[in-house]
Each structure stands twice: as C-alpha cells, then as structure tokens.
Amino acid sequence: MRFTRIPGTTLALAAAIALIGCGNKEEPAPAPAPVPAAPVAKPEITVKIGHAAPLTGPQAHIGKDNEYGATLAVEELNAKGLEIGGAKVKFELISDDDQADPKQGTTVAQKFVDAKVNGVIGHLNSGTTIPASQIYSDNGIPQISGSATAIKYTKQGFATAFRVMSNDEQQGKALAEFAAKTLAAKSVAVIDDRTAYGQGLADEFKKAAEAAGLKLVANEYTNDKATDFKAILTKIKSKKPDLIFYGGMDPQGGPMVKQLKELGIKAKFLTGDGGCTPNFITLAGAAAEGQYCSLPGVPLEKMPGGAAFKEKFTGKFKTEIQLYAPYVYDATMTLVDAMKRANSVEPAKYLPEIGKTAYQGVTAKISFDANGDLKDGAISFYEFKGGKIEYVETLGGVPEAPAEAKPTADAAPAAAPAAAPAVAPAAAPAAAATGAIPAPAAEKK
C-alpha cells in the first residue's frame, strides 16, 4: 500500500505547485470562437450542419429516422447546387449519437462547436436539447430542433434556439379541444409515461381539458419501458371514463390499446404525436380501430411537396417514415433558407434571418415567434381506420395553403409555468419498422 500513498500525496502537492507555477508560464489558448469557415471569395465552400439524436439505445429507431430526414434535405440541397454569398455551397451533414443522455448531449454539442459547424439540427429529446442549447448559445450557433417539445427549451432566453414542432402546450390545448368538441367526451382518464415528453404533454392536456369542462376521473402512470398496463387499466375500468388520453410513445401506446380491449374497456383512446405512427397500428393490431391521435402541422399529403417527400424518403431509405423525419427535414431546410436570405453561411450573419423565416415546409408553414417557437400551432387529428391513419381535422393555425398565419396558439404562451427540459419528446422510442408516415388519407370528414 505504501507505494500508492506516496505518489498520491505528492501528486497533489506537485500538481498544486505546478498549477501555481504554470499560472505564470502558460499561455492559455483562448477558447475557440465559433468562426465559421466561410471564405466567400472561393468558388466552393463547405457548410457543415450538425445533427444529433440517439442512434443507439431504446430510441435509436426514432433517432435514425431523424437522421434520414436531415440526410434527405442535405442531399437535395446539394443536388440543387446552391450559391450563397457568391460561392457554390456544398452541405455536409455531421451526424452524431447522443444516446438520449444529457451528458453525452453536451459532449456532442461541444464536438459540433469544435468542428465549427454552421448550424445544428436537433437534438431529438428535450432532455439533451436543453443542456446542449446552452453550449450552442454560448458559441452563437443556431439550433433548430424538429422534435423537442418541452416548453422550457425556447424559454431560456437563447437567441439561437428554435423548433419547427409545436410545443407541449400548443398540442395539449388542441388535444383537449378535440376531446371536448369533436369526441364530445365528458370524463377522461389520463395516463403518462413519466418521461419529459409524456408527462409534459399529459399535464398540458389535463390543464386544458379541465378548463374545457372535462372531468378528470383517473390519473395513472406507467414508464417508457413498460409492457404490461393491465393493473392501471383495470383501475381505470372501475372509473368508467368516456375517453383515455395517453401521453407517451407508440411502443407503449400500441400494446396499451390491445390490453384495453382484452379487459373489455369501451372508452375511446386518444394520444399525441408519439403514438401517431403506423407502428402503433402494427403493435395494437385490430385494437387500434377507431382510436385517435394528433400530429403537429398539417398532413403531408395536403402540403406542397409533402407527397414527393414521402416518396423520396421511402425510395431512398427503403423504410417508411417513422415519426419526426419530415419535421427534421423542414428544420434543415429552414436553416438553409435563412442562410440564403442572409446571403451568408456565417451564424452571426444568418441567425437574425431565422427569426424572420416564412418558409413553406412539408409539415407546416414555418415562422417563429419571439421565443423561437413555431408560430401557427396547427395540430391535425387522425383516426385509426382499417389499418390506416385517416385524417379527421386540423385545429388552430392555418390548415392548408400558405395563407397568412393567424395563430391560435401563437406566441408561446407566457403562461407556461412549469416545464423544463427533459427527456423528451421525441424521446420516446417509438415507432417501428413499418411505418408510413401518418398518411392521412385526405378524406375530410
């Protein structure tokens, strides 16, 4: 043992001495400022776009889906041969795995900063997006998330933080309105999966539902790794609600409706974007029939370029869209759109342009409020019917064509108290192999 002791002790001393000594000698290199390489004069410049999502672990399939969305956008942009600031621009996507872990999220963020990326798309989960946003903000790098829904993300006062996805409050309100009006429910039971996404959405739904006069008869919880929901469903059965709302993702949502039927519960089932996937139907089987879900934005089929996007996606990656790929695609396009308008790829120059965005994306007409939240909180509703996800209606915002945005859920509501970051939204693992984008068969009902 003796030999451990000496090295340790002395180590401490030596280090202390060295610290003092070095203070005078060392020429500390200043932290690298985010100086984007943008030699405008040259004929071709490379613009690096960072993309972060969990590519391993339980949410990997959603993360990969996000990555595909960004890849598609970058390839399209490169094929167009854009010129910005007089130079031909080649976009390069640097995608990295943050494992949905806040700690790794900041490491990846720092890696992007070191690589001098011109902008960042992501992260997938609010839990990684929020701590990473601090680093992007410190280094002046614009960040657009296509899937983080925690209200807190855009409320930290960072000029660099944007999202092209409705936040929990926007979606929660619309869900409650749909439950009260369209589904004419009188009483509701709420289940959430205790993730930042599920809990955030469920809480906003509860608030709005009670305001809309719905009676909250049961409040149950599960977790994002659970497969057995019989115990909580049995309890809900005894309260006889008209509607069950679930805040969480489809790997739980699908089996949950199946068990609902096994227990002979007649109540309708409504869930948010996390369950609005073809995979939900695959996992739920026949039990999915007649249940409802919501997605931010407007159905792809109704948007200019939406159907084409879907076709390109499935053609290229030989898999269906899982969930957030279209939003991530839009996020990437929005970022580059701002570069075009600013005629510069330098973050400092094009950042102010992002706030002024009015871009026609495949999920919505994108413009931002002062916080960086999506203006026009349109939320579309769908019903699972005959193994398909059928469009029902759109609430709030401007549904179809690029009319002027007259937001209902406009500016991020100052009200939102709680929320903070967390794991996120997208966080959840969801979807499955088979998904097709929630393709609303456009028949309006």
């Binding site: 790794k225 019989k230 115990a231 909580i232 309890k235 790997p251 699908g254 002979g264």
Partner: protein, 307 residues
Amino acid sequence: MDIFLQQIINGLVLGSIYALVALGYTMVYGILGLINFAHGEVVMIGALTALTVVKLLAGSGLPGPVIALVGLMAAVPVCMAIGYTIEKVAYRPLRKAPRLAPLITAIGVSIVLQNLAMMVWGRSYHAFPAILPAEAHEVLGATFTDLQVIIVLVAAGMMAGLLLLINRTRLGRAMRATAENPAMAQLMGVNVNHIISLTFVIGSALAAVAGLMVSANYSIAHYYMGFILGLKAFTAAVLGGIGNLAGAMLGGILLGLIESLGAGYIGDITGGFLGSHYQDVFAFFVLILVLVFRPSGLVGEKVAERA
C-alpha cells in the same frame, strides 16, 4: 370485487412471466453462485428469433399454435448455443477470479448481445403476429385470454420439471454435487465443466420459452427488451431466495401481485398522495422489508458469502 379479482389475475400472469425468466437466473446461481446478468439478453434473442420464424410462417395457413411451436423450436437451439458460448467465453476463464470479475464480463456480454441484436433485427419494435387466439374470456367480471392461462401453466410446469430434474435424476444429482463442492464432485467422477455448461444450456432454453411467451403476450419485441425484464426477474429471484427454484417461482408471482395491487390500490391507500408511478417503489420497499427480516429471501437457505 370484479376489479380486485382482475388485479389478482393481472398479477398472476405478470408474476408467471417474471418467474419464467427468474428460473433461468436462479438455476445458474444455484450451481455457480454467479448472477448471469446477460440472462435477460438471452430472453430477448429468444423472443426475436421466435418472432422472425413466426412472421415467416404467419401466412402459411398452418394453425397458430403449430407456428408458435415451430418458432419455439427455432429459438431454443439458438438460445442454447448463445448460453453455451457465454459460459465458455465469458465465465469459465474467470471461475477462479475475484467474484466481481464475471459480473463485469456479464455486463460486457449484455452490451454486445444488445448491439448485435440491433444490427440483426434493426432498431424497430416488432409486432408479434396475431396467430394465437386472443379473445378474452370473462369470469365474474374479470377477463383473461388463453395465452395467459398457458403462461401460468407453463411457468408452473417448468418449475415442476426442473425440480424433478434436479432432485430425481442422475444429472440432477451431479448438479447438486457441483453446487455443493465442485472439487469434490470432480473427484467423484462428475465432469464439472460439462455440468456447468449443461446448466447454462438448460437455463438458456428456458429463456427461449420465456422470450416467446413474453413477446406473444404483449405482441411486441425489441432488442432492448431484455434489460428491464432481466432486472425484474433478478429482483424476483432474490425475493424468493436466489438459487432456490421454488423461491424463484414464489418470488416471481409475489412480485407480479405486488406490482399489480400496488398500481391498483396504492393511490387509495395513501389518499391519492402516491399514485401508480410509485409502483416500483412499492415493489422495492416490500423487497427490502422482506430482506431485512429474512436476509436470504423468503425460502432461501442461509448463505455466508461476501462480495
């Protein structure tokens, strides 16, 4: 009352699933005194293998139970091979090493199996085809499916079979001898390495059965499913007294019931202060309480060993 009965049924089914996995844990532990942390991953591989075969055959017109059986036939040898390899590569060389060394290799094996499965089966959640009758029967207002009955019966049957194997056969006697004192067993002509390999192979075959049952019952399988299942089963095995087969069964059923009743009634008991989100807290609390008063689990034997 019908609600209470339903919760008991829920707990029994869930508990039987835990017990199925816990039997594999406890068997290895009983012989080797080693927690095979990778057991949950073997269950996962079993589930995904069975699911792949079932998916292939789902359209063939064969009756559902036959397809499920074929799926099982495919999963069992795959899991056996994996169990055998794990023991040979990751545990056998460390049999004389410090006790925690095999724990680390087990964690390594888990990570490797998970990522291999991710490469083979992709990142998606897979749905188990609806080949088994799923309509619910109703008794006194409580419902259950055929599959759930099968799960409970299979768990009980497997425990009984294992007990017979261990207590009534030559192989079982060799296993008990190995568990008691490997060196002495060797001297008595028992091929200890062979017996230990066989234990792993049998445990892995059980894992394949468990994998099929779990994925069929919840109609879902995913490369990450083994972790939480393994954790719960480990808890169940310890609750009953790890190393004891009847204990694993008892621990599993008890854990299932605690979770079900906990989620169902914890809110009422605490006047709404704690809800079903404290279900696991409740389960762990009972576990801790049991262990404080019975430090070797409910039916475990007194052991003197150290970490």
